[in-house]
Amino acid sequence: MSATTPLARFWDDFRANTLAVIALGVVIAIVLIALAAPLIAPQNPYDLATLVLTDARRPPGFVGSKGFTHWLGTDAQGRDLLSAILYGLRISIQIGILAGVIAFGIGATLGTFAAYFGGRIEALIMRIIDLQLSFPAILLALVLAALLGQGKGPLIAALVTAQYAYFARTAHGAASAERSKDYVEAALSTPLSPRRVVFRHILPNCMPPLIVVATVQIANSIALEATLSFLGLGLPVSEPSLGMLIANGFQYMLSGRYWISIYPGVALIILIVAINLVGDQIRDQLNPRLRR
């Protein structure tokens, strides 16, 4: 099969790995389900008026007083767990993508500019980034979340700070290689502004490795957000993300009510593993050393 555009060729290669295709399908399905959560969830888990306390902590399959079956059971407030998971996925994906995109923007810009300017500026920026990479991301995020307080904004700021360095280093590596190529010299010999050369000429050619980092980092920021929320440093209780749901169920686990914590965790893991599998396949395809 001879495909014409690079994208079509890329897709042909991608299709060869069945597992990755399934994973991609799972990711798309989860995103669609999360987007459609208000339409398909049996209950609005944030509407406290619809919660019935006598229905709290019921096992999976329990038929609640509202007449519908709680397929995954209910949590401590009598929330339908399936609905809570669907809404939680929505928040987790939203935070993960937002943090990933912002970190991408800041990191790629910093890394590319460092490679473009070279010299002292490059040495300084990369030194700071290397330094930051030697500290565990979770610790940075933890400290920032603690200093900035609760809420979506501070949480995203913490995630971005913990992750932009990975983008910056990848962009710097790729851009340094591009910087010495003839087409960049050619572009520089024309009266184009440096900004235009960086963003329109160099950056597009650094995209492949950055996309790989982006998939991994989105999965990471979803996991990191869940961890922070689990530790009580993430989102406010009124909008439980998956991590918060798991944290809320933790205390009931010791008395054997496993479902409140386990099912949100399963949803989280399916999402993260699927994103990672897709990312692995893209990385293999873009790795020139594995090209036949």
Partner: protein
């Protein structure tokens, strides 16, 4: 070698200064510094006395120098909650974190490296596939959720192991260790397993990738031609060649494992430094937060320094090039 060491030491010092400045700006200049120094429910008179005593009416550069001087003396102030010097408080929690991290990282290395080498040596065997599946699982699943599953399985359902706390401790060199009692080991097992899973996955991947590459090199071909047994080749040649990345990861991961212990300690109520920092964040015990930040930064710089130095010791090429 000596020149290299001195150069690295100086670099580490500079980094430490930069970090202390960042922490100073972050906590002292941006936030209200008096909140870090005295309890929020102190009276106005005490507040003003403290502002004078700590020199908060001084210019910023002088305040920073004072801050540095206090750091060097190890004076981090007193914890609001525990009402004891912060340094003593943190020091009393370090052994718990240290033994948990040690058991986790050593376990992950001594299991992960041989299994990973096997998976790289016989990549198509069933055992290799099982090893790799476990490692992918360990890589993707968030630590805190595995902790919950472990507690539910082994503590709640089976009732084999306790779900939290350190258990009995025995005293050695004036420090309490769970490692020295059977009951302590029982308490240590689940949190250590939880903490080690991610590192185990990482070690397996590293050892497997290294072994696969090394098995194709001339070193192995010549060793085979010389009639050495496969086991000797793996142990004497392959292991030595893949040692560098493994030592690096061991060093770097030891630090990040201590950081990740925050999560594990919270789940298993393990009374270590990680649990302390989470508790102090939720109770706004800011002196503890500042001290923890500085100590962690210090710790990571030391680890990076040690990794650099052991690199030089393991790879003579690096040593001679850097020294000139």
């Amino acid at each position: 070698m000596l020149g290299f060491m001195i150069q690295r030491l100086l670099q580490a010092l500079v980094v430490m200064l930069v970090i202390s400045a960042l922490v100073f700006i972050g906590v002292y200049a941006v936030g209200n510094p008096i909140d870090v120094l005295i309890s929020p429910d102190a009276t106005q008179a005490i507040r003003e006395a403290a502002i004078k005593a700590y020199g908060l009416d001084q210019p910023l550069w002088k305040q920073y120098l004072d801050f540095l001087a206090r750091l060097v003396r190890g004076d981090f102030g007193r914890s609001f909650i525990y009402n004891m010097p912060v340094l003593d408080l943190i020091a009393s929690r370090i052994p718990a974190t240290l033994e948990l991290t040690l058991v986790a990282v050593l376990g992950a290395t001594f299991l992960g490296v041989p299994l990973g080498m096997y998976a790289g040596y016989r990549p198509d065997s069933v055992l290799a596939k099982i090893i790799m599946t476990v490692s992918i699982f360990g890589f993707s699943v968030p630590t805190f959720w595995i902790g919950l599953v472990l507690i539910f399985t082994f503590a709640v359902q089976l009732g084999w192991l306790p779900a939290g706390n350190r258990g009995d401790t025995a005293t050695l060199f004036g420090v309490e260790w769970s490692l020295l009692t059977a009951n302590g080991w029982k308490h240590l097992l689940l949190p250590a397993l939880n903490l080690s899973l991610f590192k185990f996955a990482m070690m397996v991947r590293l050892a497997r990738a290294g072994t696969r590459e090394t098995m194709l090199t001339d070193t192995v071909r010549f060793a085979r031609a010389a009639g050495e047994s496969e086991f000797t080749i793996l142990r004497r040649h392959v292991l030595r060649l893949i040692a560098i990345p493994i030592v690096t990861v061991f060093g770097l991961e030891f630090g990040s494992t201590m950081a990740f212990a925050v999560v594990t300690e919270t789940i298993f109520s393990w009374p270590g430094v990680g649990k302390l920092i989470i508790d102090s964040i939720s109770s706004l015990d800011r002196p503890v937060m500042v001290a923890y930040l500085m100590l962690v930064a210090f710790f990571f710089i030391i680890i990076n320094l040690l990794v650099d130095l052991s690199y030089a010791a393991l790879d003579p090429r690096l040593r001679t090039r850097r020294a000139t």
